[in-house]
């Protein structure tokens, strides 16, 4: 199937946008101006002003001499880019690949899209019709290259569709400016009597290159489809993504569920064939009023099980607000990983971390309560207790170092060491008494000290001398003195409880 491109050209992009917010301007001539070398130059005109002979590039003073009632406003820099981007995003409902064509157009890669609207005619009508309803003056065209579509939009009728057989006749009679050339080149071509595209087609390429440079030839080739023109979509296309347009806007939760199930089925089937699984999934609903509703889920381990993924979405479906209805659903998988097919076992032997039941449970928990609630810990090669364990990045992360058991560590570690009052013989003896939470503990047995230095390449501060002590009731504590006795600014802390 040949490629098809649609181009939409906005005659009065900026002024139309002004009129949307100030309807009273619709019937008055007005222009947008920007300062240039101390003069005010007109940068945009509205249809009313245009018909009275005012064009872009005139000096404001001249224009006001022609039309005394002319209104003028300051131009907003960067406005076309902003407007076109938002319109292009809106156009994603017509095709996933939409790009902006500064200063006043949009190019849509409509390959394989038009039949969903019963043909190219109604496809273009529905795009342009909606834009006209909003208040834009647009021309739309469809052709097999972006260049031809652009030419037809600017120089053809309000809606022009060229098919491959009649393309040349329609396209060849267009002026040379339809090739998207620089103004100087167009003037030079016109001076030489080359007014239509067919005039330059018959000329040798070497002559054209010598006189007008490579740009002209490139544009010619692009328009004729001999050289591919790469268009940059406003939203990068997700490689794993599915779309479901609806005949009628969906407003009920049941409808949304059916749409989600259908999308999941298609996506999971494709993923299973490619041996991939989903780590992250975004479900979007494009509302009739232009709003986009999105819910997303994450999984702890790659999955292509449609039922499981649907269960994860289920609790979030209620957060979608359909309002007047959703006309298009999309399902994007931005994060996909390879699945290593696990061999089915006849017997349920020891179920480790790969236990599918556990992974499903964790997915449900993290989608209900958030990712930061579930932790698995791995050892790190640090002596400093707070840094000796780290949170594993995934459920399958392997140990890089072994757990150490050469030094006693308390099973119950306080989040922050708490200061305590201690009686201890100086300079370096373990405590005899200590007071923690207003209770006096007499120390009976002691292990220590174990000195742990701060890692100077990470942070600065005092070292800790740890003592494991047991009081007269047999309760075992982990205490430490921060700093040397001789420094005077030492302090005692409790850091944990042994079992």
């Amino acid at each position: 199937m040949g490629k098809r491109f649609a181009t939409i050209w906005f005659h009065y992009l900026k002024t139309d946008w002004f009129c949307r917010y100030r309807p009273e301007l619709l019937r008055l001539p007005f222009v947008l101006t920007a300062p240039d070398h101390g003069r005010m130059i007109i940068t945009a005109v509205n249809p009313c002003a245009y018909h009275q002979g005012i064009v872009v590039g005139m000096v404001l003073a001249d224009a006001r001499a022609v039309v005394p009632s002319l209104k003028y406003f300051d131009d907003i820099p960067g406005l076309p880019q902003k407007l076109l981007t938002s319109i292009a995003k809106w156009c994603i409902r017509f095709s996933p690949i939409v790009t902006i064509d500064l200063p006043d157009g949009i190019i849509i890669d409509a390959t394989g899209c038009a039949h969903l609207w019963n043909g190219e005619g109604s496809y273009l009508d529905s795009i342009a019709g909606r834009l006209i309803q909003i208040g834009y003056h647009v021309n739309a065209a469809m052709a097999d290259t972006p260049g031809k579509a652009w030419a037809m939009a600017h120089f053809g009728e309000q809606r022009s569709i060229i098919n491959s057989d009649e393309e040349l006749t329609a396209f060849l009679f267009l002026p040379v400016a339809a090739l998207r050339l620089e103004v100087e080149t167009v003037i030079r071509l016109n001076k030489l009597g080359l007014r239509q595209i067919r005039d330059i087609l018959s000329m040798p390429r070497s002559v054209l290159r010598r006189r007008f440079g490579n740009h002209l030839l490139m544009r010619l080739d692009q328009s004729l489809g001999q050289q591919e023109e790469i268009i940059q979509p406003v939203q990068p296309v997700e490689p794993y993504s599915e779309r479901l347009p609806c005949l009628e806007p969906i407003v009920t939760a049941t409808g949304i569920e059916i749409a989600l199930k259908k999308l999941l089925e298609v996506l999971c089937k494709r993923l299973q064939q490619e041996g991939k699984g989903i780590r992250k999934l975004i479900f979007k609903g494009y509302r009739v009023d232009g709003n986009i509703q999105a819910i997303d889920i994450g999984t702890n381990s790659a999955s292509s099980n449609a039922d499981h993924l649907f269960k994860l979405f289920e609790i979030k479906i209620s957060s979608i607000e359909p309002a007047l209805g959703i006309e298009l659903f999309t399902l994007d998988a931005p994060k996909v990983e390879d699945i290593h097919a696990t061999q089915e076992k006849f017997w349920n032997k020891a179920c480790g971390l790969e236990n599918p039941g556990l992974i499903k449970l964790l997915d449900r928990v993290s989608n209900k309560m958030g990712d930061n609630k579930i932790h698995r810990f791995l050892p790190v090669e640090h002596h400093w207790p707070e840094r000796s364990v780290k949170i594993a990045a995934s459920i399958n992360e392997k140990l890089t170092t072994q757990w150490r058991t050469d030094r006693q560590r308390p099973i119950y570690l306080l989040q922050h060491p708490e200061p305590i009052k201690v009686t201890a013989p100086i300079p370096d003896y373990p405590p005899m008494l200590f007071r923690y939470q207003n209770k006096l503990h007499k120390v009976k047995k002691v292990d220590g000290p174990e000195r742990i230095e701060r890692e100077w390449w990470i942070e600065e501060g005092q070292h800790r001398d740890y003592y494991a002590v047991e009081d007269e009731e047999g309760i075992r504590y982990w205490l430490f003195r921060s700093g040397h006795y001789s420094d005077k600014n030492y302090e005692w802390f409790i850091h944990g409880f042994f079992a």
Partner: protein, 250 residues
């Protein structure tokens, strides 16, 4: 009672024993042969359990009143986990904040990276979590730190474990009312001075007062135990070391 049983015909005693076993099975104390591989062996405490074996696939409740109690209880539970997880199983530890220091679990012969910690502050979420994890087949055990659990809630948890055959441990911290509930056992663990020879400096092995306050179809009791060389030993029994372990300690 014992006199009465022994005075009966041996045949009759056999029948009675079999009937008792059947009743236990009907009450949910099913014994699978594969369970014996992971069943904790607690020495003298075992005689208090129905059938003389530690009840798996049931809810055990531990009462604690302070952080010190929590530490002792966590230690004892870790001892139980060490055998429950010795075939590569995974446990889930649910709490309100991350108080357990994972690196210390290794001292109780538990692989700390095989434990998944889930922390939540909301009591409702915690109970939902407990029930969902206890329903998850293939877990070795689930530990939950919760202060209150009503009779209905405990019954739901008990029903969940009977289906999934997961063992559940509830650490009840500072609970105001110790109500009747459906838990199979109620324990109280507290630290006790470790045993050291005279004049030897340092701290000995972790030692606990273990109180079994309630045991369905069993007898409550009180023991002193210590954890040494990956095994529970009762106090004051001397620790008998294998030659290899003797060499290790020098």
């Amino acid at each position: 009672m014992e006199f009465w049983v022994s005075s009966m015909l041996p045949q009759k005693a056999d029948i009675l024993f079999q009937l008792q076993k059947d009743i236990l099975q009907l009450q949910g104390f099913r014994c699978k042969a594969s369970d014996d591989l992971i069943r904790p062996v607690l020495g003298p405490i075992d005689s208090s359990f129905p059938n003389g074996v530690f009840p798996l696939a049931s809810i055990h409740e531990f009462l604690t009143h302070s952080a010190e109690d929590m530490a002792a209880t966590s230690g004892f539970i870790s001892c139980l986990l060490s055998s429950l997880m010795n075939n590569g199983g995974v446990s889930v530890w649910i709490g309100t904040s991350q108080a357990i220091f994972p690196a210390a679990l290794k001292f109780f012969n538990v692989e700390p990276d095989k434990i998944i910690f889930i922390n939540t502050k909301k009591p409702k979420e915690l109970l939902w979590l407990l029930e969902e994890t206890l329903k998850c087949e293939g877990l070795a055990a689930v530990v939950g730190e919760t202060s209150e659990v009503t009779s209905t809630e405990s019954r739901r948890l008990q029903l969940a474990v009977e289906q999934s055959r997961v063992t559940g441990f509830l650490i009840r911290n500072n609970s105001r009312n110790i109500n009747a509930n459906a838990c199979t056992a109620r324990w109280k663990i507290s630290s006790t001075p470790s045993i050291m020879a005279e004049d030897v400096p340092g701290i000995g092995f972790p030692a606990w007062n273990i109180e079994l306050l309630k045991m369905r179809n069993g007898k409550p009791g009180k023991w002193q135990m210590q954890w040494a060389y990956n095994k529970l030993h009762s106090i004051p029994d001397p620790i008998i070391l294998s030659p290899a372990e003797q060499r290790k300690t020098g």
